[in-house]
Amino acid sequence: MGAFLENTRIVRHADAGPGYRTLVLEAPRLSAALSPGQFVHVRVPGLEASALRRPFSVFFAGEGRVELLYKVVGRGTAALATAAEGDTVDVLGPLGHGFPETCRGTPLLVGGGYGVAPLHFLAARMVQSSPAAHPILFLGGRTRDDLLALDRFAALGVEVRLATNDGSAGSKGFVTDPLDDALIEHRSKGMPFELFTCGPDGLLKAVAQRAVGTGMPGWISMDRHMVCGVGACFACIQRVKGPDGRPFNARCCVNGPVFAANDIIWDS
């Protein structure tokens, strides 16, 4: 479906942890059209009239609502954070190529910080569509304050394994530590799995390496600054292997943001 504009209304806008916010929009058309891993492009209320839109992955969509989970990182998110319940927000979507929703074997979801947002929507859709799926979430952050939405995953019945750099929650170290334990377990038992990840580039690269190394599918959601969001401007490029095996500059907004791990050509 082509991207369309929807004039949405804020029904809830609340803190989700230090520096993090949850924005719930009444958006009947978008909520029905969005798939996990897709994103929306938000015209931030209160920013100057010529400011670019800001892209956000979708934390949940359904039941007439679209939920975003974001971190206040710059001018756009700082302005968005002040929007009040009842305000209208102009949203462009659905955008991009999301995660596959079917999975052969165990879905292993690997999130870093607010990169957990699209993994929640994916987990919700997986649990709903195939109760036998049993996804496992591996979530990492610097401290326990960066581990978001744990209550929502608990409500979905999703098993969660945590890691923090300072050891304030879960294992101390990187989220790839508990992930590697699970990969060893799956491989020793001959159990298939697929990897789904969103977070900082370092994490994405680490997860992609594990997908390629184990020969299992990996789905990597890239986070890039975007301008148009619809493929018109060519500002959000990621070098990937094309269908013919030759490298090309893919647009994260339409060819991604989710790419197959095998296809991504990482900067050296």
Partner: protein, 295 residues
């Protein structure tokens, strides 16, 4: 053109990307992204930086090349948009021969390809673009070569960063252009002071958006006084007032560019506002606005 509005090349992809976000009936033509003979990878990342009042970009004319454009993008446009809405194809090259060769290939394309916009003013590529647009004698050669290669209407898109636009307008006339387009982006640079590095991988880029609008008005005004060629005005058109200003300065048609990124429905608002303005001021048609400065 059924309306005086088109899209600015490079802001509207290959014409289909905004099909569900904008009512295309407000457009008189769609101008698509620059095409050369062979595929072109464009510049490295980052390719853009947001600045107050605009956007600095250095995309570098990434594109599929004429073969893929004709084989895939043009038929896709016909499927999504139809053949009735004319397409203006922006072209560029690394040599005068390449400009002519791309134009020749487009000549045979048929509807909806209705005109060629010759880009001699992109600030973001070394090989082509502004190399040909900053010397009136070379510019005239490019326009002549393209003119000889096609019977399609030719619009020449000029650079704003010249001391006097008139010699470039003359070169377009001498080369056989049918119209000129003003303005392309203005060369610009953004520095990340914490990292002490240029933000753009290309180091420099081109500024577009609200900030460039008065520059565009001035150049359209200067060009209009020097030529009878129709002028396609663009640069910071976010509201109807911006388009009307360019028309009063001398533009016959208007392109909406960077504003589309903020509001994909900008062209709809702009057209509605032009109609309202004409009614309020007693103009029977938007054509009457061209150069209608009272003083």
């Amino acid at each position: 053109m059924r309306t005086p509005l088109t899209t600015a090349s490079g802001t509207f992809g290959y014409g289909t990307e905004y099909a569900a976000a904008l009512d295309y009936s407000c457009l008189g033509a769609v101008t698509v992204k620059g095409i050369r003979m062979s595929p072109w990878p464009g510049n490295g990342m980052p390719r853009h930086a947001e600045v107050p009042g605009g956007l600095v970009n250095a995309i570098g004319l990434q594109g599929p090349g004429i073969d893929d454009f004709l084989a895939y993008h043009l038929p896709h446009y016909v499927d999504v948009v139809g053949s009735d809405l004319p397409m203006i194809v922006n072209i560029w090259g690394g040599s005068i021969d390449e400009y002519a060769a791309v134009a020749a290939r487009l000549s045979d394309a048929g509807a909806p390809v209705a005109a060629i916009e010759v880009n001699v003013s992109c600030p973001n590529v070394k090989a082509g673009g502004h190399t040909f647009g900053h010397d009136p004698a070379v510019l005239a050669q490019v326009v002549k070569a393209v003119r000889a290669a096609t019977a399609l209407p030719l619009i020449v898109k000029l650079a704003p960063n010249v001391p006097d636009i008139v010699p470039y307008v003359r070169a377009c006339e001498d080369g056989g252009a049918d119209a000129i387009a003003l303005i392309n982006t203005i060369p610009a640079m953004v520095i990340d002071i914490e990292r002490r590095r240029p933000v753009l991988a290309n180091r420099t880029g081109g500024l577009s958006g609200r900030a460039v609008h008065p520059v565009a008005v001035k150049l359209v005004h200067d060009a209009y006084r020097a030529t009878t060629l129709p002028i396609l005005g663009m640069g910071g058109v976010y509201e109807a007032a911006d388009a009307i200003e360019l028309m009063l300065a001398g533009a016959t048609a208007i392109a909406v560019g960077t504003a589309t990124f903020t509001d994909p429905a900008t062209a709809e608002r702009v057209l509605g506002g032009i109609v309202e303005y004409c009614t309020r001021h007693g103009f029977s048609s938007a054509c009457e606005l061209t150069g209608a400065l009272d003083g």
